[in-house]
Point group: D2
Chain length 341, copies 4
Amino acid sequence: MAHKAAILGASGYAGGQLVRLLDDHPAIDVVYLGAHTWAGQTLSAAHPQLAGGDRIMGPIDVNMLPDTDIAFLALPHGESWNIGSSLAQRNVKVVDLGSDFRLDSDDRYYEAYGQHHPRAEELSLWVYGLPELFGPAISAAGRVAAPGCYPTSALLALAPLVQEGIIDIDGIIIDAISGVSGAGRKVSADLTFGAVAEGVRAYGVFTHRHRPEIEAGLELFVGAPASTVFTPHLAPMQAGLLSTCYGQLVGSPGDVESVLKDFYADARFVDVIDRPPQTRWVVGSNRALLSTHTDERTGKVIVLSAIDNLGKGAAGQAVQCANLMLGELEDTGLTSAGWLP
Amino acid sequence: MAHKAAILGASGYAGGQLVRLLDDHPAIDVVYLGAHTWAGQTLSAAHPQLAGGDRIMGPIDVNMLPDTDIAFLALPHGESWNIGSSLAQRNVKVVDLGSDFRLDSDDRYYEAYGQHHPRAEELSLWVYGLPELFGPAISAAGRVAAPGCYPTSALLALAPLVQEGIIDIDGIIIDAISGVSGAGRKVSADLTFGAVAEGVRAYGVFTHRHRPEIEAGLELFVGAPASTVFTPHLAPMQAGLLSTCYGQLVGSPGDVESVLKDFYADARFVDVIDRPPQTRWVVGSNRALLSTHTDERTGKVIVLSAIDNLGKGAAGQAVQCANLMLGELEDTGLTSAGWLP
Amino acid sequence: MAHKAAILGASGYAGGQLVRLLDDHPAIDVVYLGAHTWAGQTLSAAHPQLAGGDRIMGPIDVNMLPDTDIAFLALPHGESWNIGSSLAQRNVKVVDLGSDFRLDSDDRYYEAYGQHHPRAEELSLWVYGLPELFGPAISAAGRVAAPGCYPTSALLALAPLVQEGIIDIDGIIIDAISGVSGAGRKVSADLTFGAVAEGVRAYGVFTHRHRPEIEAGLELFVGAPASTVFTPHLAPMQAGLLSTCYGQLVGSPGDVESVLKDFYADARFVDVIDRPPQTRWVVGSNRALLSTHTDERTGKVIVLSAIDNLGKGAAGQAVQCANLMLGELEDTGLTSAGWLP
Amino acid sequence: MAHKAAILGASGYAGGQLVRLLDDHPAIDVVYLGAHTWAGQTLSAAHPQLAGGDRIMGPIDVNMLPDTDIAFLALPHGESWNIGSSLAQRNVKVVDLGSDFRLDSDDRYYEAYGQHHPRAEELSLWVYGLPELFGPAISAAGRVAAPGCYPTSALLALAPLVQEGIIDIDGIIIDAISGVSGAGRKVSADLTFGAVAEGVRAYGVFTHRHRPEIEAGLELFVGAPASTVFTPHLAPMQAGLLSTCYGQLVGSPGDVESVLKDFYADARFVDVIDRPPQTRWVVGSNRALLSTHTDERTGKVIVLSAIDNLGKGAAGQAVQCANLMLGELEDTGLTSAGWLP
């Protein structure tokens, strides 16, 4: 029997992709769509591209939800912690695509957000939802905080190499480029077509909140503190994310690619390929493509990591986590190929 | 038991979309991928975005094909007629996405292509594969010529209104805009990013070969000769096609929308909506979105028609035809929503 | 000695292009930049791409203006009529890029805008600023209403052919495609990169306000009432406008191109070329490129007309008008080639 | 009296921008346009966007050139060394936009290109044409090798900080993103719209030939050998280049911005601004925009550097060099603002 799911925050980009994926998911039934400002309107008003567009989105109110096995939260920062906790306390499994529960400590939260976490004591109840690194914990979890798009791409590239002692945990630089859907569906002067097309820019230099998340993820995986530099850029495309990750080689150059290939040998969604991956090749899918490059002259290792920021970087990964939490096969409903022609 | 299918011309844009759709199709198994210049290479070399990329594409040679129930031909103009006939004679059902068998007579073929059809006597053996207009014939057919992208969008918009006497069969103008994948995967100076981005252009003015196809389709459906003007344009986007169809109102203004809605009441893939459709809303799906607009001052009717040129305008429609030919539900494997966020 | 000019509405797209053109104009000195919400801020804040970015924009207040010979108004609809009149009464020459004074009568204004013109009695004081059609009147004028971008492209294509009796004044259809800067610099959900990229749409079907303006311009030039159909579309590009103009041939097919070439033989900015013009070829310049196409089968004439909506369709044309009004050579400061590589 | 100039390689992207700039240059007359495969055709055939399109391009043959004071070479790699030398020997000043004479030694040339330079003994006769770093040498030179686009952006960002001891000469990483015109006007499957739009990619990882050029430029300026890592990326835009340059802070954090501002205090085309520069702000101009960012936690300095790859990164910089070589003001003909709206 299919699991019942609610999607809260269905009107946004990640929410729309969740609807798309879960509508085609053979083991999950979407029983509720919730939204804030779009509540009362049809799904089609927010997402004309989706099927079943005449479904009405309801409010985001835990008391309005029908009986459901799992809830996906795709809400702006700061809006998950309350409803996420409430749902979990009612024994609803929760996958939060937002950033409220991704960091492991109030200190790190304070570093990232400049304020204390309103439910700091609950942070430890949430599992960081990167299945390739923390699969067993996710399978056992009732509360999963799905990673941000940049941390997903960076951690997939770096964590195994750091853990195996191939690259130094210090001195890592992650230089990343994202399509505009990474900024969410907000309407601002900086995100009009006229302001985005035909240009690239860096933003959040040294201050982006995904940097502490990357360090938290690395530390969680390898058990040692990490210090990284992270620079995100915006490119004129709708989706896709490429991280160019620089590390200092401390192991053998010959091991870089083989360690990564071995680590992901059984990973359904991660492929290590022999040419630089393009974001075009993953957009629409849950795949991550990695390639490794070593420079003996400088001792630098580069790992390129391409994902769909809305797929493996958001909705796809959330469904992957849900599959584990619900005891389904990891790739159920996630077999779609990339869609760019 | 699943039907076995071959895809010939798997390396092109339409071929790639066929692979994507049929790999997820629950009632069809892809047993052969054929290509010309890409033969011997992996699917991944041609389509890094697809799953199952290590499949090797074989030659396009009827004698090399394994036993198969149906074959999809996604070949350049002039390359289908020979192999299409051969396959049909071996009792393989054939869906040809190319233009070799779309026109109903050698005269019209000569008008469009400036030469006689090499197998003119076989033209009548092929059914024009626009299911919403010619569904029963397709269901009974062994050979189907799937329509071009522009004719699909124009005929869906116009044919019911002409048939019902709402707009005049003469004086129709179709002004259409397509993304660049409509030109196929060819490499030419006119199709580089530097030549396409930030610009629009008309092409094939009064000479495009889809104009005779539109007229053939109209004539086939309403039983009277049609004379149309068709102007295609290229816009800087990868996929999507919008036709702005102008007709002279001869019926009642109030009937325009209702006639179209009634005609498509049971159509799984065609929706008549109340605002101008955007191509973004259909790219990735097999849907067509129509809207109608009437101007009493000039007596003009405009029907806007948006499709994905690679979906309803190519691979999606071919699969829809195949479903009918194979006795499956019309929408099997075609439930995907649009993919643009 | 250089003429002194004020630019009111400097913060918008057209205003920014005016600054760019006039800063390089050898006979005009920009002495004032005015803006509404951007008043008090630097030019660079609104237009980081412009030189002289540390100039402070002042308010749009006729009493704050320094002594100036000419004023360019690049303001939203409804904001020009008051200040435009005030400036003209003070013997400042005025070129209004907005739509307040483009229509020739209050009736037509009411048709377009659904309300009466607040200074209907002044409409006749303004000259319609399309120099190729109304050059002498512009040269003699103190008040010029520069045409909209769509009317510019359509009238250049059609007016000479209608006047010479080559195409019928009735039954004209203008199907046009514009880049997003045509919508101005407003921030709305419909104009985000995520809503515009990878899609095309029609808008204002049968209701766009440029249709009455096109008819007014035709009527003014040929002296007979015109009835047209006009359908604008939005394409994912920043600038550029292509009109595909359909007319019924009533003259000789052989005359279409020659009449247009003769008419524009001495026109500095209009070229009739022998292939369909691309918007890429004119963006950044004040040029209009036309091509003609005739179909004897249907008796239809198509004239394609490509301009830069911000150039010949706005700021370039305004400067061209100003040159005439100020007694300068028509192309002073307007020799720039297109800028797309 | 104006200087006479020839442009050899007028049909390419950089050549077209040279024509655009020099046609508007008050002190330079273009007397010859040369091309290889386009020889015999009009300028308009290659560059429909340019004025004076009926000029015929002649062959690239030193014996066919009219008397000229200066020649600009915008030729593919390997095609400048012969004609460049010949012209220089005839006392024609030469600005080579290609890469044949940029490197300072045959060793470095071999490292970059895997073969020995055919005229290694002449390498020392050419001056590296980055005016902000090597202005006096350029003013005195008859042969100037204009830098590549990536080295221009990187050296402007880094050279002053390395020279002043603010950042370490070792361990520098340059992560850069370019528009597609950087690849030149070649027609290849990788550069079609369908392959570029909606995607980003890294290329030439650890192997791009601009890395040795960056190191040569740094070494020439600061007098000490440099070792860098350089990773170029391609983004879906026509022009513009952003370098994100990482260095290790060895000086005082407070000096980073002030050193750069002081160094460029009199530079006409370089501005150090207080927010991350966008490539949109410089495309079409000869400007470079820099911003500095310091992270005390990791001791890293980031300098962002935005240029137009065809402007300051190619044609604009070549004209700037020519101005110096010809005794004109450095910014003659280069005052254009950026053109994106």
